[in-house]
Subunit: 117 residues, 2 copies
DNA sequence: TTAATATATGAGCAATTATTCATATGTTGA
DNA sequence: TCAACATATGAATAATTGCTCATATATTAA
């Protein structure tokens, strides 16, 4: 962190101070980033997309994704900790589905953003 | 990747196949994940939030964020490569602002999601 | 109980990443 | 041209992360 006494001429220091005062707190920024981080991996994106199409058990997800069972389970735990997916047990099998439709909205909005460009 | 001939009883194999057929392609999943990944870091979240409040030069951002100039510059380049922020040069100083209001929408939606819970 | 199936999880490893340090580029004024 | 300022960037490093392997837990059927 360097000295910043001679604020660059271009911007008034009041604006920087004002923005600094209004800026998100650390924990808020971390919370928001954590949620986006969860969506920032292709495997998890595919899992979320698959579950937006249909509730699926872990085994079916391994088929759909073409991945090992362990990797899928790890990612599902990750997503479950963030309450992005939830599970429902039925005998031996565990069915996963999206826990919240906000996630789907983020999805739709993001795809729009990408197509728009 | 293990054998998956005896599909788990719980789900019909047709559903897994159907979901697999509709699932996002690799490159789409990667594109979407890349965008979310850009939002998956507290520093970048703060940068985006700050710029949603006001156009700012790099130096002011270092003040607002309380971070080194180099770190800020690196993150700005990252965000600029993804067209999340854009720059405007004026003499020595470079002003950054959000390139697209879709990002702000994602922001709002995400904060709603977090507050909701 | 034993075997088979479905899922979960800890440890370890390779790849990625956010920051720092040092330095380069570009701009302005003296 | 030279010095000061504003920003950019390459290299190095520490921390994080996604996957695999081996194994544990849980459920069902024989």
């Amino acid at each position: 962190m360097e000295k910043c006494d001679p604020v660059c001429e271009g911007t008034s220091p009041e604006i920087a101070d004002q923005v600094k005062a209004e800026l998100l707190e650390d924990r808020s920024a971390v919370s928001i980033a954590d949620l986006f981080k969860a969506l920032g991996d292709p495997t998890r994106i595919k899992i979320i997309h698959a579950l937006s199409l249909h509730e699926l058990c872990v085994h079916d997800l391994t088929i759909v994704l073409g991945m090992g069972q362990s990797a899928v389970s790890h990612q599902l735990r990750y997503l479950r900790n963030l309450r992005i997916v939830k599970r429902r047990k039925e005998g031996k099998t565990v069915y996963y589905s999206l826990d919240d439709n906000h996630i789907e909205q983020l999805f739709v909005l993001t795809r729009q953003h990408l197509e728009h460009d």
